[in-house]
């Protein structure tokens, strides 16, 4: 199964929609939605609402995140926005500012 990788020097201003996993190393402004997972790597910047099965944040995310299964913030994560997921993991070191709704 092919996965989508948004490279580190790439800037996308718009919408990404898919049925497969997305790995973001670059910058995305707009909206992200997929039936699979979204991984925001360390140097990445996401200014978008994110909707996916699982969301793993290792970089900067500014926007509302909805994960149908699980949201994970890694130690380098910096998230500002509302999180909605039945399971949430926030690692030591991650910064997070927003509302949390686990009642999914």
């Amino acid at each position: 199964m092919a996965n989508t990788v948004i490279g580190s020097s790439i800037v996308i201003d718009g919408e990404i929609a898919g049925e497969e996993s997305l790995t973001i190393l670059g910058t995305v402004k707009g909206k992200i939605s997929t039936a699979q997972s979204v991984v925001v790597e360390a140097a990445a910047t996401v200014e978008a609402d994110v909707e996916a099965q699982t969301v793993t944040v290792g970089g900067k995310v500014t926007g509302n995140v909805t994960a149908r299964e699980k949201l994970e913030l890694r130690p380098e994560a910096k998230m500002v926005g509302n999180a909605k997921a039945p399971r949430i993991v926030v690692a030591d070191g991650a910064t997070f500012k927003g509302n949390v709704d686990m009642d999914v």
Binding site: I6, S9, G14, A17, E20, T34
Partner: protein, 118 residues
Amino acid sequence: MASEDPCFIGSKTTVRGQVSGKQDVVVEGRIEGHISLDSHLTVEESGTVEADVEATVATLKGEVRGPVVATRSAVLHATARVAGKVKAPSIVIEDGARFSGEIEMDVELPADVVPGNA
């Protein structure tokens, strides 16, 4: 190229909007909008690009609609289906490629041959 990490738009992904960057991009899915790359854009056979495209090299094997401006070269492979304008200093069209549109290259003609007099 600036980075070694890939930029790959999978076959089940659609990107709508502006895509810009300095690294090679390979598209097996769909991009609509604007693409502006200081690098190599490859549209694979399953890829669809409906966008204004600017790149250094454009390797087209899939469906491309929209002006394509490549600063170095554009290659339409046998499976390409391209419509619109293609502008590049070097353009290659392989047998089997389907193209409908305008091709803009600088063509040096001798002084006494002027288009339009035929």
